[in-house]
């Protein structure tokens, strides 16, 4: 449904990530990632042992220390590279945005009414500027006068211009977009450096990235696992010494690094950054990673009926003849009454008539003239060249009209009209001359595919609630047709916020979309508020996400991305921890084999030598990080299904896979090492 924004990656993206990865080796940066910091300390220790093999007393194998040290260095580099790569994509995106942010000249309207030319950076909140066709809008603002079509492709990527006008919900304009036609007067709403574009750039750059609550909790777990294995490894030496099975320091460091969760530790921040990035690629700007995470937890989505669930304009669904008129006659008259009616309603009537077999020749009416809808008459129609007057309109208006013309009211008119109204539709009566031929059943139509999407959401355990200003009957009909779980009819803006509060009080997380200023409080109250870029500044500021395409259904994709982010995090954590089983079986026999030859019985992988076993495990531990980078970036595959099914599937892939893959991987690396005579 939505286009994804393709950002032109600079060719040197990988190169730059590599340079960044080296910069991140700075211990002051590394300490922010305690798991990888431990690896770095291990690297320094083994490096020292390479230079001075007897540093900690007793001779150690310099060559072996060197190799371990090198592998550890590469491990850290891989982890840093993953993070740098994720950040790099955001930076590339920010750069393409920055290009739109050029210094422009603005025509500032002084208090005395004169116009001065100033640089856009000199504009402050509250200043008034005039923007004419062909000019860039110098800053975010609100139109106070005029109507214009604006090309927002710089921000949204959408090339068709949009109409912006003073007053109402379409008055906000964004700096950096171009006025295509007309002339508008704009009141500046932001100071330089705080504009929407500025915020967007800093967001995608990741400058303000903060760890999300779940990320912090997961980090706690990873740190505690690291500490546990630090205890295991430091206590192992004195215990082993008691049975004269002292372990070389480098081996102990290798065991430690293999056991601590380096895989997830190295990829965790890349997963988070990539998650936000995926949202951005959907042309949605998330104000924080927290909002993306929360969208995975959403229990209830509140959707506006008009424009989100339905097309928002009523369409002809059926022709209902009344009295003793024929269906064919009604078809023809209905179509003829609308032939010059250019509203979507009118066009849908002609289309329906054609679909029901009306010949095209019946619609060639030379000399006919259209009668436009007027509030007083509440009907519209066509005067044919032969003098026949065809009208369609509200049932009671038509009744009055027919009575005036001395016509008769068919007995079943009211009953049939009521039936349509009860079903949630709008009846339009059609009259030719003074004869009422029948009714047009107009109804608000649900966008195609919505039903399936709500079904999908239900499978994900998410409830959908439709909000509409319609009467309960109409609302119920649309709700049933669209397949939403619940609806609120005759809803006022404050009803929406009350609904959100009620859901939240029951422990649910609520998402909603909105664009109007009166949506702002509800957008702020919701756990995930997605504002439309076409909406007002107030709405955009209250929301924690902004959809640049202004497509309200996109909230569903955002939820899926949030889920995918959490799943990726869980899957890689599980994989990382499950890996330990195989690593134990590689390293433990190898560690003690010299002192206790019988330990070879535990060498179930049949690794060639103790050294090759330890190095293979360590190499596997390192290369699994870059192998998983694409998965961390793209996220694990997500399709809506029940939690139990999802869990079983992921458990087999990442849990069982996490146990088995390293057995195979370590064995293969061992074979390669032996084959190349490296050990």
């Amino acid at each position: 449904m939505s286009r994804t924004r393709t950002v032109a990656f600079p060719k040197d993206l990988y190169q730059r990530a590599f340079v960044e990865a080296l910069k991140k080796l700075d211990p002051r940066v590394m300490i922010k990632n305690p798991v990888m910091f431990v690896v770095e300390v291990g690297f320094v220790v083994t490096l020292l042992l390479t230079i001075l093999p007897d540093l900690f007393g007793g001779a150690s194998d310099r060559g072996y220390n060197g190799i371990v040290s090198l592998i550890l260095f590469v491990t850290i580099l891989f982890a840093n590279f993953a993070e740098a790569l994720a950040e790099g994509r955001g930076k590339a995106q920010a750069e393409s945005l920055k290009k739109t942010k050029q210094d422009t000249k603005a025509r500032k309207l002084a208090k005395d009414g004169s116009i001065q030319m100033v640089s856009s950076t000199e504009l402050r909140k509250g200043d008034l500027v005039i923007v004419e066709a062909g000019e860039l809008i110098p800053s975010d603002g609100e139109i106070v006068e005029g109507v214009a079509s604006v090309d927002e492709s710089a921000i949204t990527g959408e090339s068709a211009p949009v109409i912006k006008e003073a007053g109402g919900d379409f008055s906000s304009v964004t700096g950096g977009t171009r006025v295509v036609s007309d002339r508008i007067r704009v009141r500046v709403t932001t100071d330089p450096g705080e504009s929407f574009l500025d915020r967007m750039i800093s967001l995608v750059e990741g400058a303000k990235r903060q760890k999300t609550p779940n990320e912090i909790a997961l980090n706690t777990l990873l740190v505690s696992l690291t500490l546990i294995f630090l205890i295991v490894c430091t206590t192992l030496q004195p215990i082993a010494s008691y049975v004269n099975a002292a372990i070389p320091i480098a081996t102990l460091v290798a065991l430690l690094v293999c056991l601590i969760p380096t895989t997830i530790g190295g990829l965790l921040s890349a997963i988070g950054i990539a998650g936000m990035d995926r949202v951005t690629q959907f042309n949605v700007i998330a104000m924080s990673g927290k909002a993306v995470e929360a969208s995975g937890d959403i229990n209830t989505i509140i959707l506006d009926k008009t424009g989100t669930i339905t097309h928002g304009n009523r369409m002809a669904a059926e022709f209902v003849p009344v009295g003793n008129s024929k269906a064919d006659a009604l078809n023809r008259a209905a179509a003829q009454s609308s032939i010059l009616d250019e509203t979507p309603e009118g066009r849908s009537i002609v289309e329906l008539a054609k679909k029901q077999g009306l010949a095209a020749s019946e619609l060639e009416l030379p000399g006919a003239e259209g009668v436009e809808f007027r509030a007083e008459t509440r009907m519209s129609g066509t005067n044919l060249a032969n003098g026949t007057q065809i009208r369609k309109g509200a049932v009671d208006a038509i009744k009055t009209y027919v009575k005036e013309l001395g016509g008769r009211i068919p007995a079943d008119l009211d009953e049939k009209a009521n039936r349509i109204a009860t079903a949630g539709g709008t009846p339009l009566a059609v009259v030719e001359g003074n004869v009422i031929l029948g009714l047009i059943y107009l109804k608000d139509t649900v966008k195609p595919g919505m039903r399936e999407r709500f079904e999908e959401l239900r499978r994900m355990g998410i409830r959908t609630v439709m909000c509409t200003g319609d009467n309960p009957l109409t609302a119920a009909t649309i709700a049933r047709e669209a397949g939403v779980d619940d609806f609120v009819a005759e809803a006022k803006p404050e009803d929406k916020i009350a609904l959100i509060r009620k859901e939240q009080a029951a422990g649910k997380l609520v998402a909603m979309t909105g664009d109007g200023t009166n949506d702002a409080p509800a957008l702020a109250q919701a756990d995930v508020g997605l504002a439309m870029n076409s909406g007002t500044v107030a709405a955009k500021e209250a929301a924690n996400m902004v959809d640049l395409d202004s497509d309200p259904t996109k909230i569903i994709e955002v939820v899926a991305i949030g889920k995918q982010l959490l799943m990726t995090r869980g899957a890689l954590t599980t994989f990382s921890i499950a890996n330990d089983v195989a690593k134990y079986f590689a390293i433990i026999p190898a560690m003690f084999m010299l002192a206790i030859p019988q330990m070879n019985a535990l060498n179930i992988m049949g690794l060639a030598t103790p050294q090759s076993a330890i190095l293979s495990a360590l190499i596997f531990n390192a290369i699994i990080i870059p192998i998983l980078i694409p998965l961390a970036m793209k996220g694990v595959k997500y399709s809506p299904m029940s939690a139990t099914k999802l869990l079983s599937r992921n458990l087999v892939i990442y849990g069982l896979g996490g146990i088995l893959v390293p057995f195979v991987g370590i064995k293969l690396i061992d074979l390669v090492l032996v084959g190349l005579n490296l050990v």
């Binding site: 609550p213 779940n214 909790a217 706690t220 777990l221 740190v223 505690s224 500490l227 546990i228 205890i231 295991v232 490894c233 206590t235 192992l236 030496q237 004195p238 215990i239 010494s241 008691y242 049975v243 099975a245 056991l259 995975g296 937890d297 229990n299 994900m460 355990g461 998410i462 409830r463 009080a505 422990g507 649910k508 949030g562 889920k563 959490l566 799943m567 869980g570 954590t573 599980t574 921890i577 499950a578 330990d580 089983v581 433990i588 026999p589 003690f592 206790i596 019988q598 330990m599 535990l602 997500y638 029940s642 939690a643 139990t644 999802l646 869990l647 079983s648 992921n650 458990l651 849990g655």
Partner: protein, 557 residues
């Protein structure tokens, strides 16, 4: 035959555990129940005399109450042990216990460990046996039961986590005392002595004079098992014919020590109003237990290859250190049960188990959640359940939640403290002991078995089990102080951390369950739970186990 023996015991256990679980859930309900009518009278008198106000507590108040009451108990115990020589109830004229041993003993019984660095028949007066040992044998499992109830109330979102003093009283009046009376009478019927007479003197067939120790044994043995305490009246514990005279008492003792730990998961099921939830927790514990039991039995029945080479028949299995009246099956079962339930009572010498047979008690104590001690075992497995939800729960695409409550940073920090403490207090002192003269001096059998001896002592202390590999000369200042501290940390760090988790979870708004919620009452979760226990709980100890029992097994094969 062995298989049938073992199965019958386990089936009877299951049949007893389900109704007991339902009973426990009701006995500790915050709502009024019919049980209040039966026990309310006695309890009201106790509340009145002791000035207990029945009001809901916050987790901090609850934890403070646990600590204050436990400090008082340990002070009383310490003083009695130091003064027992001057106090009445001492017909055999036992002298005062020295300060460090008194510290170790008081802490040991306070923490439900019952590690005994003294020998019961010669080290304690009858008054000490009753006022220190039996007294603490009631109050510490009662503390454990109170804590698990508070924890489960937090997890299941009850009105509050309850009132510690009320729970402590109810654990006595509604659970431990009635059960202890029944078990004591059954034991007496089987020939276990219950007397205040001093040591009997008998003349043996060869004409020599023999002192036969006796005393109020049955009452101690009953609560020793029911309360997963484990400290014997006699030094050799339930291998002694006065503590465990017949195969029937052996079964009775096995059932007694497993009854409360095995019924708590069912109580949890009743409290969550999802019996399946209880079954999943019970199932995870049972599966792990059956694997351990299988290894223990298999290893013991296959005999000891070293003895076989020395020309000793191993046809009926490794009978070294076992009682003929129990045989391999009842010994292996007893060993597996006593360390699973962290009771620590023994009917055979664990030091003489075959290497892999000895790995079983070590492993069960390292996990500390294969049923586990009264109360704390269930707290531990539920902690692993929260951990499992946290790791795997993300894979359903939601932030983790357990029983409708979000597991967030705060809970993870508290759980991290608990999962860190256990390996730290086992491995660090083991390393210190093995690297120092103070520690290695007590080892009777150096080499890999020596590692097992030291490791066993600290694991048993940390898991509040209390069985010893024996063979270790442990009544020295080093062992008395080090194990004393390990026991204290082993018990209170996790109790306080988990009460804090309960308090934190209780304060959260429950999240409604939907199709998208991770279910914790099905087979998938059972697998995740066991995997979490094994990978997080067990793999930690794999290197040291490899150097101890595994190396011993590989080298004597």
């Amino acid at each position: 035959m062995d298989f049938i023996q073992i199965s019958v015991v386990l089936v009877v256990l299951l049949l007893l555990a389900i109704p007991t679980g339902r009973y426990l859930a009701r006995a500790f309900s915050l709502e009024n129940t019919r049980l209040d009518r039966a026990f309310g009278g006695v309890e009201k008198v106790i509340y009145k005399w002791s000035g207990i106000r029945i009001a809901d507590m916050t987790w901090k108040q609850y934890a403070t109450a646990v600590l204050v009451s436990n400090i008082t108990m340990v002070a009383i115990a310490y003083l009695l042990l130091r003064l027992q020589g001057m106090l009445p109830g001492n017909p055999s004229g036992v002298a005062a216990m020295d300060p460090l041993l008194s510290f170790n003993t008081a802490v040991s019984f306070l923490t439900n460990t019952n590690l005994q660095h003294y020998s019961g028949e010669s080290g304690l007066s009858y008054l000490s046996q009753m006022m220190v040992i039996i007294y603490l044998m009631f109050t510490t499992p009662a503390t454990g039961i109170a804590v698990v109830m508070a924890f489960m109330r937090g997890l299941t979102g009850q009105r509050s986590i309850g009132n510690y003093y009320v729970d402590l009283v109810r654990a006595h009046t509604r659970v431990l005392l009635p059960l202890a009376v029944v078990v004591t009478l059954l034991l007496v019927a089987q020939g276990v002595p219950q007397t205040m007479e001093p040591t009997a003197t008998a003349t043996t067939l060869s004409g020599a004079e023999q002192q036969i120790a006796r005393g109020p044994v049955a009452s101690l043995v009953s609560i020793k098992h029911l309360g997963t305490n484990g400290g014997g009246f006699f030094g050799v514990n339930s291998a002694h014919p006065f503590e465990n005279p017949t195969p029937l008492t052996n079964v009775l003792e096995i059932l007694s020590m497993f009854l409360i730990p095995a019924s708590l998961p069912f109580a949890f099921g009743f409290m969550t109003k999802s019996r399946k939830q209880g079954w999943i927790i019970f199932g995870a514990m049972s599966l792990m237990f059956l694997v351990f039991l299988g290894i223990a039995y298999g290893s013991e029945i296959n005999g000891n290859p070293a003895l076989e080479r020395a020309g000793l028949s191993q046809a009926v299995g490794s009978m070294e250190g076992k009682e003929v009246r129990f045989g391999i099956a009842q010994s292996a079962l007893f060993t597996a049960v006593t360390t699973a339930a962290t009771t620590g009572t023994v009917n055979n010498m664990h030091d003489t188990l075959t290497p892999l047979g000895g790995l079983v008690p070590l492993g069960e104590m390292m996990l500390n959640c294969v049923f586990g001690g009264d109360g704390v075992g269930t707290v531990n497995i539920l902690m692993y359940a929260i951990l499992a939800v946290f790791i795997a729960g993300l894979m359903v695409g939601r932030t983790p939640e357990f029983l409708g409550r979000k597991i967030e940073g705060k809970e993870m920090k508290l759980i991290a403290i608990a999962i860190l403490a256990h390996p730290l207090i086992i491995l660090a002192p083991t390393a210190i002991a093995l690297a120092s003269e103070m520690g290695t001096a007590g080892i009777s059998n150096p080499g890999f078995h020596g590692i097992s001896q030291v490791l066993y002592e600290f694991t048993s202390s940390a898991a509040n089990n209390g069985s010893g590999f024996e063979g270790l000369g442990d009544n020295t200042p080093f062992w008395n102080i080090s194990t004393g501290l390990v026991m204290l940390f082993g018990r209170y760090v996790s109790i306080i951390a988990m009460l804090a988790v309960a308090g934190s979870l209780l304060a959260k708004t429950p999240v409604p369950e939907t199709m998208g919620t991770l279910r914790t009452d099905n087979g998938v979760f059972l697998v995740i739970l066991i995997a979490t226990v094994v990978i997080v709980g067990a793999l930690t100890f794999l290197p040291v186990l490899a150097l101890g029992p595994v190396a011993e097994w590989l080298t004597i094969r």
